[in-house]
């Protein structure tokens, strides 16, 4: 109880309250604009949050991350253009409902399902916290190294059909992270005697280039889409009640979101896909999935909104980000000299609890904001794409230039922006580069520290947690190659 009160007092501050409000409302609006999304917003805001306290900065970014999924459902349902990629499956049933005049019902179902998914996810995390607090100290350097390796393996194998490209881009990320002066012998790595490369390539510069600038360029070279949102007829308040009558849909879907969110490298897209597939089989209305089935909409929205809270688990407990957005948040921790990992979970649990409570408030704020403003908010889909592109260009400048007032950083970000544009145009993944940079850096340090206590290769996996992680890596790889073999030889 005392812990709860301490955590609540950390949130009962005007700056945290403003961050909660701006994050949740801003996230909803950003999510509702097709072509923007939380990654771009977080990348741009990241340097601005460095001046804020960790709890303030993190609640702001968490608010954008969590509530953007709510907003992303609006264009997905109304104009068949998902605001964020993870709302893609929402279009399957949301847009057909709009076409048959049920736009308001579809939106209210999506908001209700998102709210249920978010709250279930946070409750699950709170219940899991004592277990995590007990398990986290069992993770030493070897275990964190293996967990990061597992994250890398999962990033590659979950890009089904693109595993080779994902692997190559992941390794590119590992390589980029090594550029500059290294800290053992103080030698230069791949600087080609260029002084501007000596301090390395900053993660935030790469993130802003690959996510924000590339998206700006992509929008600028494209055509404006003329989206005309339909008028909303009916109440938005009934969706939550209707969702609560579908526990067999939203509870397992939120469960998928929690589990997938906790696994590094997997993320909300697969959570949404698997929960949608399960709901199609178990709902009894499977034949209408893809034609406007409310159960399909509820499954996909409950799953994707359960992920953000769960994705914080590997970050907070082990210091390992599972996807690009939590990788960006890791930067906020590092800037404030707060090192996420087993020690944080064991010693500063009130901080962790504050974040969980902030997530609950964020969900309530986002849900209430949407109920009151959706009819107005639908108009954001009318903003021309290219106009949006030039605004992202200007916002990206703030993110890059404010880091260290370097025009060279801006040029590097622009180069990564072009590279990101090419990747996006060719439908190649970007996230592996970011995870390669972050996980590669973690693995380099942990490998060095753990090898000091290791004599043979087998010593590396002598402890139970290391054995479990190693076993999972082997199973994931075997399952991946087996599925490839089955795909090539379906009759065997």
């Amino acid at each position: 109880m005392e812990l709860l009160l301490t955590s609540l007092s950390a949130l009962a501050r005007i700056d945290v309250a403003i961050a909660l409000f701006v994050g949740s409302v801003g996230g909803v609006i950003i999510g509702a604009i097709p072509g923007v999304g939380p990654a771009i917003a977080i990348a741009i805001l990241l340097p601005a949050t460095f001046a804020l306290e960790p709890i303030v900065g993190l609640t702001l970014l968490l608010g954008i991350y969590g509530s953007s999924m709510y907003g992303g459902a609006i264009p997905a349902i109304l104009v068949n253009a998902p605001g964020t990629a993870v709302n893609a499956l929402t279009t399957y049933d949301g847009f057909p409902m709009t076409k048959r005049g049920e736009a308001a019902r579809a939106l209210s179902l999506a908001f209700g399902a998102s709210f249920c998914g978010g709250i279930i996810s946070i409750i699950a995390l709170m219940l899991l916290s004592p277990v995590l607090a007990a398990v986290a100290p069992m993770f030493g350097s070897r275990e964190i190294f293996l967990a990061a390796l597992l994250g890398m393996v999962l990033v590659v194998v979950t890009h089904r059909g693109q595993a080779l490209a994902a692997g190559a881009l992941l390794c590119l990320g590992i390589f980029i992270n090594t550029i500059g002066l290294e800290s053992i012998r103080y030698t230069q790595r791949y600087t080609f005697d260029q002084p501007w490369l000596a301090s390395g390539i900053d993660l935030i510069v790469v993130v802003l280039g690959l996510f924000a600038l590339s998206q700006a360029f992509l929008l600028l070279v494209g055509e404006d889409e003329h989206n005309e949102p339909p008028a909303l007829v009916g109440k938005l308040f009934d969706g939550l009640r209707e969702v609560l009558r579908m526990p067999k849909i939203f509870v397992p879907s939120a469960g998928f979101g929690v589990v997938m969110g906790m696994i590094p490298g997997v993320g909300e897209f697969l959570a949404q896909f698997f929960s949608y597939s399960l709901a199609r089989k178990t709902s009894g209305n499977g034949e209408n999935f893809g034609k406007g089935a409310p159960e399909g909409l509820v499954a996909s929205e409950a799953a994707n909104n359960a992920v953000p809270a769960a994705a914080m688990i590997p970050l907070l407990a082990l210091g390992i980000p599972g996807e690009a957005l939590t990788a960006m948040m890791l930067a906020v921790f590092y800037v404030h000299n707060v090192i996420p990992g087993p020690q944080l979970f064991a010693n500063d649990f009130d901080f962790i609890l504050s974040l969980y409570l902030a997530l609950i408030v964020l969900n309530v704020l986002a849900f209430a904001f949407l109920l009151g403003t959706t009819k107005w908010l639908t108009q954001v889909v009318r903003i021309p794409n290219r106009f949006l592109g030039m605004v992202i260009l200007v916002l990206s400048f703030v993110g890059v230039f404010s880091l260290r007032n370097s025009i060279i950083d801006c040029a590097i970000a622009a180069a990564f922006g072009m590279f990101g544009l090419m990747l996006k145009r060719l439908n190649l993944p970007i996230v592996p580069i970011i995870l390669g940079m972050v996980l590669g850096g973690i693995m380099e340090v942990k490998f060095r520290t753990s090898m000091a206590r290791v004599e043979t290769v087998f010593d590396f996996i002598e402890r139970p947690v290391a054995q479990v992680l190693f076993g999972i890596i082997v199973i994931v790889l075997v399952a991946h190659f087996y599925s490839l073999f089955r795909a090539k030889n379906p009759r065997t």
């Binding site: 253009a81 190559a168 053992i184 260009l393 200007v394 040029a411 622009a414 090419m422 439908n427």
Partner: protein
């Protein structure tokens, strides 16, 4: 085809997870793959010179170890990607390389716009440059209605007020601000 990242387009239907992650085997993709593979080969050729390996130093402390891991990984995955391209060489789809390269070239124009904006901010100041840049871009993008120019100017003002005046992000005052009257100079340098 749905992209993994933020997207602005319409969605197509997919029945399997891998349908979301498949790139069509276009000649543009093959060119891109080959070029990045060649870059990886070049980086590998520089391994001894650009990343050091010392005698009598354990493997985990070798400065070049993780650069080597990254490059060898790129070569490993890249090699199998090349094989895959070779086996699918008869199934190339649009867009062709030239069509795609023209789009990349078109984007390069906006890189120049961005760099011009970046270079001008320290000289002419954040607020005037941002508003000027947005107005010019609005014109360049072909918007002619007055409401777009008004929206562009207001957006520029809002961005500067939020980030520099309110959040106090570190963007230096423009050199031109030095010529402002003393009464407003300090304010302009700090907040605009």
């Amino acid at each position: 085809m749905i992209q993994e990242n933020e997207i602005g387009g319409k969605s197509n239907r997919a029945e399997r997870v891998e349908d979301y992650f498949v790139s069509p085997y276009s000649s543009a993709l093959v060119w891109f793959g080959v070029c990045t593979f060649l870059v990886a080969i070049f980086l590998a050729s520089q391994l001894g010179a650009q990343a050091k390996f010392f005698d009598n130093l354990p493997l985990e402390k070798q400065p070049g170890l993780w650069s080597a891991i990254g490059i060898v990984g790129m070569l490993f995955f890249g090699f199998f990607q090349m094989l895959q391209f070779w086996f699918h060489r008869n199934g190339l789809q649009a867009p062709g390389f030239v069509a795609e390269a023209l789009v990349w070239l078109k984007a390069a124009e906006y890189v120049l716009w961005f760099m011009a904006y970046v270079s001008l901010v320290p000289l002419t100041g954040y607020l005037p440059t941002t508003i000027g840049f947005l107005l010019l871009m609005t014109w360049r993008l072909g918007y002619r209605a007055g409401q777009y120019y008004l929206l562009a100017a207001l957006t520029g003002l809002l961005i500067v007020v939020v980030f520099k005046s309110f959040l106090q992000v570190k963007i230096p005052g423009g050199a031109l601000y030095e010529y402002l009257p003393a009464a407003v100079r300090g304010f302009a340098i700090l907040y605009l």
